[in-house]
Amino acid sequence: MADAGSVIEAVRRSEDSRRRSLSAFALAFVAFGVAFAAIAAARGEVFFLRLATEALIFGGLALSADILLGYAGMLSLGQALFFGLGAYVSALVLKNVLPSFWLAMLVTLLVTTLIGLIAAVIATRARGVYFALITFGLAQVVAKVVFNTPSLGASDGIIGVPVIAIDLGVGQVTAASPAAFFLFCLAFIMALYCLCAYLARTPGGRVLAAIRSNEDRVPFLGYPVTRARMLAFVLAADVAALSGALYPVLRGFVSPELLYFEVSGNAIITVIIGGMGTLIGPLYGSALIVVLKSVIGSYTAHHLIVIGSLFVLAVIFFPQGLIGAVRPSLERRFALRAAPLRR
């Protein structure tokens, strides 16, 4: 019989190597981003920098979907609700109140936490497919209401959001500079990623992982399932909204399309293709999908057929996604380096 100490040791070692390989992916992502920004800025690119910034923003949305799907095992088909909420709140603050980035973020955070809590009360009571369908319905209903509300610009959305300068204390980043704003978004989204990766390692995050593997057993161990699910839901809502809040800063407008099911669905596709339950996978997935879309887009307007098929194949053959396909070999290398084989 293996003694408890060696089991705990083995679990800790496998978690360590998993964490280290995921951190390596995160560092590589930042390196790719910085290198891309340097090359693009040197060549005076605007279009590709803007596109990459958008990929980052939608990557943040996918990250929020992964918190729910990959950690808590909750498939949300309505993350666009919070993404759009963040975009609308930020646009309204920037346009009507004060063109201050941090104020917009603060208001977004407060509003989303409040609305996220209300939505969590409605949605997290439901389990499994019921949760998926309720989040789907919630987002569709809100999208329809926004689409028909004249004070929110109805079908036109909100246009004319001012171009702002973001005060960083030591200096300013203006949203008008493509490279600088791209780097700022990279830092912003990676900060969200680090926060989520940190929270996943806290006791609360471990309760989520336990719920995902066996929901019925967790309450018997004395952990509050409902509260953990609600907290995960609100956290995901905040991450989605803060990502969405960057959107009007980049584009200067928001439209009800941001709330549509296409956006939620796209986030799920991104999570699966990138690698569910890894947090960094969705960011890679978002970059990959934007690249695919623009490559396919140069041949045909119907990129959804290709991406949809790719998604279906990924669900069947690579449920661990891009990261999952690369990670095992990397993890083996880390494990070897950490502890040379002892006999």
Partner: protein
């Protein structure tokens, strides 16, 4: 006395048309919901592509009509054509992930991906614009002093007949008994000689056929466009959830009740707010009964 006349007039000219309207939409939603609920009841699969299969049925009808086929032939031919489509989808996609641990989520994702592909395929083949389908029965009938389009009355009659037929097949035939047995206890049914895998595929195909039938029936009323299924699927899901996933009786009752609520409420509130109203009803029902109003297919 004048008040009495006023009341009757209100009933006749304000409420009655809305009730009939609600019934005709209700029939359409029930047909969609039936397919969804039967597929879930047996396979535990939420078919996110159901709306796209509904659109596929409508587009097949458009193609057949353009080829000179009679509408009444289409009404039979399209569901029959959809059967092999459903069978192949179940075999090629759903069976592949069926034995994995989180198959609820995986099958939902698969059918969602399929829906994305289908919707774009409609755009490629038929273009993004709306296609109109001529009403095969013109004119209107006068009932109780009001005029109703004949075709809507026909759709209601056909819808009621289909619901009755489905009920008879599921609850009163040996074929239905086999399906219910497979839904209730897969292992036991299998060891009694029920070809469970084939029953699964056939049931999925049957649900898809129903969606196709709904597509043909409603094409003359709502016209045909690539996202036509998406506008409908939320209503169908709401009905299925309120009725109880997997329950045929629940789908029918919830379909009628919810569509009446929608139709009558739109007399008082803006149509924009009827969706949140129905959604609110759904949330309330779920809080009261987390599994909807009625039990699942296997326990029927």
């Amino acid at each position: 006395m004048a008040d009495m006349h006023g009341l009757i007039d209100t009933l006749q000219f304000v409420f009655a048309p809305q009730i009939v309207n609600g019934l005709s939409i209700g029939v359409a939603v029930i047909l969609m919901a039936l397919g969804l609920t039967i597929i879930f009841g047996l396979l535990d699969v939420i078919n996110m592509a159901h709306g796209e299969f509904y659109a596929l049925g409508a587009y097949l009808a458009v193609s057949l009509l353009a080829a000179g086929v009679n509408f009444w032939v289409c009404l039979v031919a399209v569901p029959v054509l959809m059967l092999p489509v459903g069978y192949v989808v179940e075999r090629a996609l759903i069976q592949r992930v069926f034995d994995r641990k989180d198959r609820h989520v995986l099958t939902l994702l698969l059918t969602f991906g399929l829906g994305v592909v289908l919707e774009d395929a409609f755009r490629v083949v038929y273009g993004p614009n709306t296609v109109r389908v001529d009403t095969p029965i013109g004119g209107a009938a006068q009932i109780l002093g009001m005029y109703f389009p004949n075709y809507r009355l026909f759709v209601m009659a056909v819808g009621a007949a289909i619901v009755a037929a489905v009920w008879i097949v599921v609850f009163r035939t040996s074929m239905g008994a086999i399906v219910r047995a497979a839904a209730y206890d897969r292992q036991m049914a299998s060891s009694l000689g029920v070809p469970v895998a084939r029953v699964y595929s056939a049931t999925f195909a049957f649900g898809i056929g129903l969606a196709g039938l709904a597509g043909v029936l409603l094409a003359p009323i709502y016209s045909v466009f690539p996202t036509m299924g998406k506008d409908f699927i939320l209503l169908a899901f709401t009905v299925v959830i309120v009725g109880g996933l997997g329950s045929i009786k629940g789908a029918v009752i919830a379909g009628i009740v919810l569509m009446q609520i929608q139709a009558l409420a739109s007399l008082y509130i803006s149509p924009v707010w009827t969706d949140p109203l129905l959604f609110g009803v759904m949330v309330l029902v779920l809080m009261w009964r987390p599994r909807g109003l009625f039990g699942a297919l296997g326990n029927g």
